[in-house]
Symmetry: C2
Subunit: 199 residues, 2 copies
């Protein structure tokens, strides 16, 4: 069993998060278990509660880490020089979700208890993902429509999210759709053209 001299509070928090994230990736939200995470790192269940306060805050922290990896995934894709950064973004959204399906679905499967708001620090870190998209949209909008970049970006993320969700949960397959990514990209480009973007 773990002893306090083994890890500082910060190290322990990182250890739990690391193993929790791994466990979530392996078994998904429905089978995720705080007890199992505790067992794997050799600490007792109660320790996780001392460090994170509750099951929900632990899951929220794990999912926030996923958001950050997701944003990094997009940046990596964009770093590869390409003539079509928008298509790269949409494809990056899809590829992260499908390569890390358990982590990605956990983000939307988990909901904080009624009345409990997402802690500010976590909300802030999650925002980094949207920031990437806002930046790329703003870069191709004409100056006179720059003010709409943020709202448009949010809407396009929602558009891609819908297609990605249906692709991964089998809705599209059930209806015979074979190219969800192509559809999502088409919808995004139509909206950008309508907003006057040049690319």
């Amino acid at each position: 069993m773990g002893r306090r001299s083994d890890h500082s509070r910060a190290e322990l928090e990182a250890l739990i998060l690391e193993e929790g994230h791994r466990h979530m990736a392996e078994v998904g939200f429905a089978r995720f278990s705080a007890r199992e995470v505790a067992k794997r790192i050799g600490y007792a269940v109660g320790t996780l509660y001392n460090v994170f306060g509750s099951y929900d805050l632990l899951v929220a922290a794990i999912n926030t880490r996923t958001f950050e990896q997701w944003a990094q995934h997009l940046e990596n894709r964009l770093a590869d020089p390409s003539s079509d950064r928008i298509a790269t973004l949409v494809a990056g959204y899809f590829s992260f979700a499908s390569e890390q399906m358990n982590l990605w679905t956990a983000i939307y499967d988990h909901r904080l208890p009624a009345g409990m708001a997402m802690p500010d620090a976590l909300a802030q870190r999650r925002g980094a993902l949207t920031d990437v998209i806002v930046r790329e949209i703003a870069a191709i909008l004409p100056d006179e429509h720059l003010g709409e970049a943020q709202r448009l970006a949010r809407s396009l993320v929602a558009t891609v999210h819908g297609h990605c969700a249906f692709a991964l949960n089998g809705s599209f397959a059930l209806l015979g759709e074979t190219d969800p990514l192509g559809m999502a990209t088409a919808r995004v480009k139509e909206a950008l053209v309508a907003a006057g973007a040049r690319f």
Copy 2:
């Protein structure tokens, strides 16, 4: 306790479904419990397993009922004469989801165990929802593009779904967006215009 003379097999199935649907609406997927449903109708847990086979098939049946109510909700909205049937559809999608949030989210929260396909009978009944949208899209597409109606409809449902999901899970609110319905409608109309629809 329930006795077999009280209900035929078909009546029992309807009874479980009715109470299960009510319970899902009240507490949502995360707190849904087959034991609780059994207690409420005065039968033992095992009886639900005899009738539905497993927890997952029970939930799938409950969610299928939700799909049907959702399709009916759209038809009711469309029955009210309106000059803008597309806007009515998008608004109907949103209003059902927000009025029946627990039922709506349960549809996407639940996933069948790996390797288990949705029973054909249930998949068929769920399809009725998409059929409504395909019909309405086909009605406004020019004849030479009628063949695209089905694919386009699927994509537009995904678009609206993404906006609706973000509206209900708080993502939009967190980013300061106040009109998800307006955004979704705008995206849908852009895509329809691009496809040559007249309305």
